[in-house]
Symmetry: C2
């Protein structure tokens, strides 16, 4: 009990008091949050790195963090134009330097022109710098074959995660059987499950079809929805396309069917399209939900509510058919955090509005960008090929995004042993993999998977000369692990 | 009602359907959030700026945004060393340029060394780059006269707001009369009221004493707490020192009394110390809660839970005596958003670990920093002097931070007119001020104030040559407004 006025000496004398904030008294929703991508396996990887630095002998010489899509950490080269313009924005004295191309200088000047006091150190409007919002709208319009985008419907954010959580926050309401339900794919990117747990909304799982390269099936959406209606009020449907962790790229037909479903069932659509520029597989093509929605015509194009998220450096969201009063509320929520970081906004501007053919930086920019994408495409293929040559591993084609999500067979004795240790079987596998090879990947249980199946997510980002030995090492470990527990 | 499977045509034919997300169906907590600093008055200021650009005639030629502490937008010059190092980090090709001092290069190299792939484009650990956390800890230790700070208790964040909301989030629990109550000062920085509304926690107001230069009074804390215990469970006490919007700098005695109070009453302490480097008044000195707490010795130093927030560019929080299990939960929450933006982390590093006397950049860095602080000190004095010369305006000394919060008398007829318009009287005053002079300040009602008193918050940041005419224009408007409604 808290001491009352006058109880001062009592409290002091009573010895150690209980903490105000303990696992028992803290926010229970926060406690339920899980985030596998940076979970226990990553903490262990950090420890191993430290041990290596301290000279502890290990069966490997470095920890390879294949758990996260961290391109630059994996050696991907920054795009020169982006870095030049950002340096000019940060330190405008450089505008007098002969070492920077004219178009980089022009771009930096135009960004600074739009900043308070011509400084990247000023705040911007809460929804982002106005000319950058306009460039984003133009980018979307080009992407969608001329279908208009209104800059007023574009909100810049601190990464796509920030924007996704903001929209989810608007949707959460009700209690008990009226609590908001949100449909998310399984496997999913765990930001969704984490945000829904924190917001105390109901996570409604729909399973992607592993046998059809993780395609989305509307019948499965319908099953999930009907079942959920017994215990919550489903109000939103989240789509991740290209898929994370699945790498699936949805067909146009699939997207149309999803939109029709959302319309019929009165669901707010949230399209996570952050990997829209990362499509590798022949025959796969990215179709934006916005474009398909608009091409379907009324009533879909005029009524279906949609928020579409993209992220290149910093993120943005475009909202379509959102109630204007709610959009004002969204604006208000974003204003409470003042504004997204300006350097990220500046980089976003360069990505949505890259050098044009007549600009001096055009050739190099295109060459660097194409090199990155071609390299990723080759690594996507290599990953699929190596894994599928291994008995007990099956890997769907990595059509897009930056990850493979192979399925692994685990022997019953390994599953038994994991249970004894209180671990998910694929967590047990991944921990052992980390301890013995230094390879850090995330168990499928962190993303969700059909019961009795096991997977891991591994990024395809490591440099080509590292990726092949890595895949082989991993495959060999799987064989050894299987033997050990057979 | 939502259509069921098979109801497709029905839904399409029924004409415009209702939106999923409307003011009626959205998150009611979000709807309750208010954020005056970027509220209706700022939206109107934006419109006015647009009208000016379109050539609409106004009684002024520019809108002066004195509503927000946006130093660079107000013409404050960036610190050269910060910009040099950041440019080098962003574009490491510049490391070969002769135009940068050696210590800037060394610093950039050491920051990049700590980044994945030596790139500012990589993710960092969720709590921030490890060597930067160590520099922050050393900075705190120097600030607090050698009292140790543990880097593991330091979390870097996306601005102080982000860290404050994270800690509040941990504290929120219970329902009905067991809902978490959080004591906040009135007037307050409206991030607090906004976050508490969003989290559905109970805001417990304690009033600062305007007659004693907005000092905090423990008897008033006790009154607020006792009253709150009737309808919620108060668990945390927020302090803003130096005060925002009040500019008050707390005495050491006051801080000791607050700590004793929090200890006796079992309250988690949250010390918002983001303006700790901005103290101007003679006789005023910043004392950190951490230092005072540690100097008070056991049981305070060993048991009282404290989170202390600072923000220079990007923010950080130091937690003291936090339950280790809860601290792990906090770490987890931060990991869901991956990591704070790297450019901000880099700037933070330079601020907490500035050039040393032997470094080539030392002299310029100190000169630039001192110039900024001396200029602010002069403007703080000027503001107080000009306002206090005006009948009907009374301004406490601006001891610290970046704002004045003068009290204004409003004639009863103006109050009456505001009521007719459905506006808070000081909002009515501020809107009229904006329309007639282009000066944008925030009404006191957005921060909270004793009933029947009226204030506004105005930043002291405008350049000295602009500030005096601005203060005079504002004073004249007050006189005119008073005449008009007398």
């Amino acid at each position: 009990m808290a001491a009352r006025p006058g109880g001062h000496n009592l409290a002091v004398m009573n010895g150690p008091k209980e903490k105000v904030l303990t696992l028992d008294t803290m926010n229970a929703c926060v406690k339920r949050v899980e985030y596998a991508v940076r979970g226990p396996i990553v903490l262990r990887a950090l420890e191993l790195e430290q041990e290596l630095r301290q000279g502890v002998k290990k069966p490997f010489t470095e920890v390879i963090r294949a758990n996260i899509g961290d391109a630059h950490a994996m050696g991907q080269k920054p795009i020169t134009f982006l870095r030049q313009v950002l340096a000019l924005c940060v330190h405008p004295d450089l505008l007098n330097s002969p070492d920077f191309p004219e178009d980089a200088k022009r771009r930096a000047e135009s960004i600074l022109q739009a900043c308070g006091g011509h400084s990247l150190g000023a705040y911007s409007n809460s929804s982002g710098i106005q000319p950058i919002r306009e460039h984003v709208a133009q980018y979307i319009q080009r992407r969608d074959g001329g279908i208009p985008a209104d800059p007023n419907n574009i909100f810049l954010s601190t990464g796509a995660s920030d924007a996704i959580v903001t929209v989810l926050k608007l949707l959460v309401a009700g209690e008990g059987r009226c609590r908001t339900g949100v449909l998310i794919p399984i496997p999913q990117y765990p930001l969704y499950s984490a945000a829904l747990a924190e917001l105390n909304a109901v996570q409604v799982d729909y399973y992607l079809d592993e046998d059809r390269a993780w395609a989305l099936d509307v019948a499965e959406l319908r099953r999930a929805l009907c079942q959920a209606r017994g215990h919550c009020r489903p109000r939103a449907l989240c789509i991740i396309n290209p898929g994370n962790p699945t790498g699936q790229v949805q067909t146009r037909e699939c997207i149309e069917a999803v939109i029709r479903f959302a319309f019929e069932e009165q669901l707010f659509l949230m399209a996570d399209e952050v990997y829209q520029d990362n499509v590798y597989a022949e025959g796969s093509q990215f179709h934006s939900f916005k474009k398909v929605l608009m091409e379907m015509g009324p009533p879909y194009s005029t009524q279906q509510e949609l928020a579409s998220f993209h992220s290149i450096s910093k993120g943005y969201v475009e909202v379509v058919n959102m109630d204007p009063a709610v959009q004002q509320q969204m604006q208000k929520m974003m204003s409470v955090r003042l504004c997204p970081p300006l350097p990220g906004q500046a980089v976003l501007d360069m990505v949505v509005s890259p050098p044009e053919p007549s600009d001096p930086s055009f050739t190099q920019f295109q060459a660097e960008k194409q090199a990155v994408l071609a390299d990723l495409a080759a690594k996507a293929k290599l990953t699929e090929k190596v894994f599928n040559a291994v008995p007990g591993i099956r890997c769907n084609p990595v059509q897009g995004a930056m990850y493979s999500f192979p399925r692994i067979e685990l022997p019953p004795r390994a599953i038994q042993r994991a249970k004894e240790l209180g671990l998910a079987p694929d967590m047990f596998f991944c921990l052992r993999l980390l301890e013995e090879t230094g390879i850090c990947v995330v168990p499928g249980s962190g993303f969700g998977q059909r019961e009795g199946t096991y997977h891991f997510r591994m990024t395809i980002l490591p440099a080509a000369e590292k990726l092949r030995p890595l895949l082989e090492k991993l495959s060999q470990f799987h064989a050894k692990f299987t033997r050990e527990y057979s």
